[in-house]
Amino acid sequence: MVSLEDYESSDPIAWCPGCGNFSLLNALKEALTGLGKKPHEIAIVSGIGQASKTPHYLMCNAFNGLHGRTLPIATGLKLANHELTVIAEGGDGDGYAEGGNHFIHAMRRNVDITYLVHDNQVYGLTKGQTSPTSEKGFVSKTTPWGSSSPPENPLLLAIASDCSFVARGFTGDIPHLSRLIQEGIRNRGFSFIDILQPCVSFNRVNTFPWYKDRVYRIDEEEGYDASDRTSAFQKAQEWGERIPIGILYRSARPTREEQEPVLSTCSLVGQPVEPTAFPKLLEAFR
């Protein structure tokens, strides 16, 4: 049996008091405990940003890499040892700005990774600049008269990319978020969860009450069919008075690993090097 204590880390948390990341961390720990995973079976990969500090705050294998490069590290790690449960974690800047290209291609590649984006709609760690998901008109020191671009909708991009699992969570609803994370980990393939996470220091627009007033659980809506791509596309556009949370889209697709015969017997790291095979390789040069 695994308990929440098994996931305790000794590293002191450097987030601001009241930050949504605390709830997110709790939801994550609960999800992992709930799945019965042991810390050494998990590897969490992150980039740089407030969100990306997360892996230090729980007991797990962790790779805290570069800003924006969360997904390629996670991809290499998972492909080299697909027996690990690999979670990728980062902010909206990390994932949608600097890492935007990897995001699009990771969804296409469909490696079995669960990707948690702490979407506070702002660059937190660098002190509050406009991010790709900041609202149009968002005022920050890089856009003092308000940003002129509409926000990126990462869920729409995910649905357009036929991502295997597309969901939105909210740090103000820990049980729901924890279940979403569990579902994401259970899903075989690339699972993407955009998580609304209030930043109390820099986002004065999308605050905890702002989200709280708007979010609703889509799974409680009757008849919503996450396998219907068109309705997912429509639902994912909803952002205003009401903001859906839950699993918006699912697509049953083979994973990269399943299609790779090289991984059929064991993981890459498990495969021995056999020097006897090499003379044949060189024979072809004769």
Binding site: H40, E41, A62, N64, N81, N101, V262, V269, F285
Partner: protein, 574 residues
Amino acid sequence: MTLDISIRIGGQAGQGVQAVSYALGKVFTRHGFYVLIHQDVESRIRGGHNYAQIRIQDQPVRSIRDRPDVLIALDRQTIDQDLPDLAEGGVLVFDGQATGHRSGDPNHIDLPLEKIAGEVGGGKIMANTVATGAALAAIGAEIEPLLDYLEEQFREKGRETVEGNQASASAGHRHVLEHPGPHGPKKVALGTPQGGKLLLSGSEAMAAGSICAGLRFYAGYPMSPSTAIMEYVAARARAYNILVEPAEDEIAALNMAIGASFAGARAMTATSGGGFCLMVEALGLAGMTETPLVVAIGQRPGPATGLPTRTEQGDLAFVVHASHGDFPRAVLAPGDAEQAFYAMARAFNLADRYQTPVVVLADQYLLDSYFTVDGLDPGAVPIDRGKIVQPDEAGSGGVFRRYAFDPSGVSPRILPGQSKAVLYACSDEHTEEGHITESAEVRAAMMHKRMAKLEGMRREAAPPEDTHPGDGEIILLGWGSSRGAMREAVDLLRDEGLPARMLHYCDVYPLERKGPAERFGEHTRIIGLEGNYSGQFADLFQRETGLSVTDRILKYDGRPFSAEEIAGRVRNLV
């Protein structure tokens, strides 16, 4: 030196120039000769002007030659551009009908390549096979070995293809033999096949060397001249249990490799300078997280896109200093296919033993050229994974001190998921546990720890190859792919009585500080010789050894050095 023949085959992209040179290379290698084939190609798929040149000797071929003895022209432009290069008394084989060229020179043989291919072979597409047969005849060699090669080469495509090619080759051969004029400046008999020797390109050597070193994960994005490495690995991925991931860009490629290496798989990527530009942040990440990493670079002329299909040694200074901040790395620059094969095995060992990035610096000339090699031993460089703690020794859980201080700079590592303990790898400055720190003391100590590896690698760097230890005051100092041309140039110069001597570095960084000085007398003159504008290695050598490089012979027109060119330029200097 009893035999020394060079044959150049010129034509448009898509006409099969390379296939001719490769077929000749195979035949000669199998019959106990040594060849060196180099490619001069444009950055396009069809048309334009390309050539391949093969030099055949009965001893290892060191260098290309400026002037071929035989020129096979598959198109008109070859006649216009390459004929002036033909050695005196050399033979030109051309298709008068297709090119509209006429010549009264008895050494110029008009051979209707396309017509013959159409008549006896499988159509125009076999014109280059006709040319291959003609090339053999032009130097007086028998046709049978080529027929054997064609049989084997096309067997899978069916009898018709085999026979069409064989008939084309024979007809080309016959036509030249029947030509009245002199049949070429030199004669060579192929004789009976002799097993043993290999023919392979620099790319193949690096790819095969990596596979023999236990490569498990390759992520890459195509970029000339490195693409053939990826393609070779991809073709053999299933046979050798390698996962090849085509990445969306070079940033992804290197980060994926780092992720895989962190997991415990030997991982690499290959690219050229432009792609490497995009990798330098991740290079520093490997340095900071102490993740083993191997990157192969095929240099081409820069900056920016430059000359994509040509050669240069212009990325050394960049690679040695790439990424912000100080961290340890090693750079190896093999001189030919054989060194390239072993350099990859050594690179993987270094990366694992020092848990840091290792760059293998090749160039278009090395990668695209084919070399005859006496043999390659996949066991010659035993695999050494360095300090990996076995799962049962990693303790019963908790946090493994991944960055434990150690005077060698190298801390034991565990692989994630292989034991009950967990580890943190961190791109920020970190504690021994791998957690982010702000401490000035820990920072300084971690810098010491990491940089200690550089001294370790320096101690075990292979010393430079010195052709005439203690003998020769004119030192040709070089690195990487100019090795062969330098070696031959030294011979040429010594034949003339000049006290020439080569000092060639394969292990270009870090390099031993004191060693070289002890080898030289007082009156030594060091001539730096490299394929770039500024003399990048000369600068590095001076910085590290404190010795002065007196002169620099530099080349930056996208073409490789020949021994003759080097000898000539040294002569002008001294």
